[in-house]
Structure formats: structure tokens, C-alpha cells
């Protein structure tokens, strides 16, 4: 979805500290990349395309500006794939507890 309308739940992006302005104590691999930020909220403008500079109203009610990067962003967390390294642990432990396993 590339187009957002006023009131849509969207995500914005900003570079907070560009390369060269990072804190002196960060390791080289961190100093070599910018500090970036993402925040979600409701679009304030009538409409906007992904990539445009926009304003959002956050859940705390603040107005925040940034580049529109996602419209109705979804949560990506899930339960992953079944892990063969874990799947048999319960059976093994139950066998030990019941005296049928290798103690």
C-alpha cells in the first residue's frame, strides 16, 4: 500500500544522528551507520504517498514529523519454525522422570 489518507495508521522514519555525529564511545561498526528512528501514529495530512515527508499524531497525542515508510504496518513477530532441537526435550525428560530414561 503506497497511499495513505488522513487518520490512517502509518509509520514514519527519521535519521536522528547521521554518520559523523554519533556518540564518541560507540564501536566502529556502529559509528559507521546512522542512528535511525521509526514511530507509528495517525496521518495528519489529507493524503500522502510513501516516501513523502508527513506529520503523524502518536498514541500519546504528540505531533511528529518524518518520512512516510509504511501504511497500516503489520506486526512481524511470530512463533518461527518448529525447532527439532527442542521438540523432543519434553518426551526425554518425562522418560527420565518416569524411570525409563537414561539417568
Amino acid at each position: 500500500m503506497l497511499q495513505a489518507h488522513q487518520g490512517d495508521w502509518v509509520q514514519i522514519y527519521q535519521v536522528i544522528l547521521p554518520i559523523g555525529e554519533r556518540a564518541p564511545q560507540v564501536p566502529a561498526e556502529t559509528a559507521g551507520v546512522p542512528l535511525e528512528m521509526w514511530v507509528k501514529g495517525f496521518l495528519v495530512e489529507m493524503q500522502a504517498q510513501v516516501g513523502a515527508d508527513v506529520t503523524i499524531r502518536s498514541l500519546a497525542g504528540r505531533l511528529l514529523g518524518g518520512k512516510l515508510v509504511a501504511v497500516k504496518p503489520h506486526y512481524e513477530v511470530n512463533y518461527g519454525h518448529p525447532q527439532p532441537e527442542l521438540l523432543t526435550i519434553g518426551v526425554e525428560l518425562r522418560a527420565i522422570l518416569e524411570g525409563n530414561g537414561n539417568v
Binding site: I16, L17, E21, R22, A23, Q25, V26, P27, E29, T30, G32, V33, P34, L35, E36, M37, W38, V39, K40, G41, S58, L59, A60, G61, R62, Y75, E76, V77, N78, Y79, G80, H81, P82, Q83, E85, L86, I89, G90, E92, L93, R94, I96, L97, N102, V103
Partner: protein, 470 residues
Amino acid sequence: MSNTSYQAVIARKPEIIKKATNIDYAAFESGGIGFDYERMMSQAAYSLDKICEIQRETGVGNTPLLELKNITALARQLAGPGKGARIFIKDEACNPSGSFKARRASVSVYHAKQHGYKGVVAATSGNFGAAIASQAAMRGLKSIIVQEVFDSRGIGQPEILEKARACEAYGAEVIQLTVGPELFYTFLLVLEQTGYFNASLYSPFSVCGIETLGTEIGKQVLLATGRKPDAVVVTHAGGGNVTGTARGLQRVDCGSTKIIAASVDLKGLHMASDIDFNRKSFTTGHTGFGMPFATSPDRADVPRNAARSLRYMDRYVTITQGEVFYVTEMLAMLEGLERGPAGNTSLTAAFAMAQQMGRDEVIVVQETEYTGAGKHPSPQLTFAKQNGIEVRRGNPVENVPGKAIVIPEHPRQIHVKDIDLDKVRQSYLRNVVGVAAREFCPQDIEFLAAETKLDPAIVEKKISEIQAKL
């Protein structure tokens, strides 16, 4: 509009923090290295009775203490004759936001409301964010959570992504950042721009809020077993959990209970590294926070940290990521409790340590936390493999943080590794001597003796030795 450059904002830190924290820290300073910790704890926060009342108002605390009978039976099968302490767990997942962090958040949010703040801000990638957001929702305050979530590829740690979801579910604005300690800069800017309260993990409000966890454990164990807990195992990161729990136990006459701090061993991984960030499967309760906060507690977002873990820990042990994943399965499969990584870290240590204790003794795991998408072993191991980490069954001694997660083949392979507390104390004193601008006065020595649980004469001797080497 004021200057918002990194240097300018960091330079304004004292005034921003003072306004947002509502504590006159100067009142507890003695002008030296030390400060009056006990007076700060008793005067800046609230009495235990008042904290109980605050927590009752929002449904925090009074969580069940469960005996892990099957895990105890398994430990006894592996232990020598007469060995195998009874293992109990405090089911802190029953708190409103799913973790003991509700205790910490409850007092901060209450205080913010009482003093007219319109909202609260917390810098946290963990359960504390959800706890603040939940408590703020109950008391009608706004909340803003600042998180470190992504590496520079935009890839987020699954557990932290889940925490962002939880915070938003409770109505918080969540500011998600890439890796770096400059999170603190963003945090200061938000405090300055909003005038909201700094719900610091390290304030007296936060740490006193945990004392009820210690008092409940002392009372519940006595009721269930007729004795005081012999050992309480606490997952250790920033130090608040160890500090608050131990202080609570002392309040119910359990001062002789051994306090065991436990962290996941992440030695070798740099916490501010864009590369190392997604090479770990545990986002807290690990040595990357546990060691620096034990040896330098005042590295916090308040002038004086109320969490001073070295004062309270009797032992500090580590376990590996693979062992904790294994025990997470053990808890679900043998006890029917599907819980998150934080409590399972201390449960892993308790499982090993119970086997060294007598059958009549009691060891308590002092927290559980909720689990769910992202913060469950299966998505974490999926993520680890996607990030090039080797995952296999084997002997956990072959575990290498950031390279290999070795999941035990048998419960007898689970062991704790002791961190030499004398070395931790030495490191603490080295840090103090390193920043000390002047000579140590008798008050300072007394403070350092309390900080390190050492005799004042030994503290003086150690300081002289460190100074001689400089």
C-alpha cells in the same frame, strides 16, 4: 528553540533529569564519593505499607508461589543421596502487564500522577515498557517508550518487537531506534519536549516497588513449608531485581536467605555493536548488563542509582542460552507452565543449584514472565539460525555467545558457573578510583564497604593497591 545537537542535549542532562525525576538527589550527597543510600531509599520513595496500597489499587503483586514438584523430582533423581532442594517459583506473569516490572512501574506512575505530570517516559526495550504503559493506562496518564530495536539493516530483535506491540496495545507511543547508547539522547529530548516524568528503572520508586516481591516470597515460603527460603535466585541485569527482592526479604526477617544473582553468559558480545546486537537470543538478564551495572551502578539515567546489586548478592552465577532454552521446555512440559525467558534464566540456575542443597531446603525462583510471539524459544532459535548462529544439541560447555547455541542432551549437563565476586568487587573499586577526583574520606570508605560487603580496612587496603598501580 533550544539546540538539539547530541552534545548540547547531553550537556543539559542534569537540568532535564532533575525536572523529570522529581527527586532532589543533592540532598543525599555528602560531597564525596559516597552518598546516603539508605536515607535516599527511605525518604525519596514511599513506605512499604503505602507501596502495598499503591500496588493493590492497580492489581499488582500478590502473585502465586508455585511448587515445581516435577522439576524438583527430576533434580532429586540427578542429585546425590539426601540432596535436591524443593524448588518454588513466584508466578509474576500474573501481574497486569505479565511481569514483575508492574511492581516497578506502579510506584513511578502513581508518583507522576500525584505530582501533576501529564505523562511518563521510559527508556527500555523490555517488560518495563509494557508495565509503564499498562500502569499509565490505569491511572490516565500518557506514556512514551523509547526502545533500541533494530540493527542498521532494519532487522529487529523478535523479543523487542513483541515488547513494542505490547506497549502499543496499552496505548503508548513507541519510539523505535537502531542500536546505540544515543538512545539516551533521544530519551532526554523527549523528556525536555514533553515535560513528562522520567520513569527510570533506577529510581527509588522503581526499586522500592520490588520490595513487595521479597516480602511476599518470605511470607509465602514460610506458609508453604514452615521455614524461611534458604536461597532465592534472581535474574540479574540492571540490578533492581536483586536489590529490591533482597531488601524485601530483609524486611520480613529473611536476612540470612542467600541471594543468588543469575545472568545468561553473553561474554564477548559488545552491547553497543550494530553487528553483535542480533547475534544474541536474550535481550536482558544477561552479563552484558549484569556485569557493568554491578561494577558501576551509577551509569544509569538518574544521578544516583537505587539499584545497587553488589550490596545484596551472595553469589553471582551464569548459565548459557542453550541451557535456558532447554529449561524453558522443561517448565512447559513437566510443570505445564509456558513462561518467558527472564524467569527461566534463574530457574536454570536453581535447577542446577538445588541438586547441591539438602532435601529439606527451599530454593525460590523469584519471577516468571509472560511469553508469546517473538519471545518464545522457537522464534528466537529461528532468528538465531537466520543470523548465522549454529544451533545444536550437545554439551552446553561448548556454547559460544554469538556463534553457537548448544542445547543440552541431558539435564545432568546443566551447571552454573560462578563469577568470582571478589573480582567483581575489585572491578567496582577500580571504577571508583578511576573517577575519584580527590582523596577518600572515612565516610567514603564506609560507603564503599557497604557497597562491596567488605571490611572497611580491606577496602582501604585495596584502594591503596589500586592507586599504587595507577
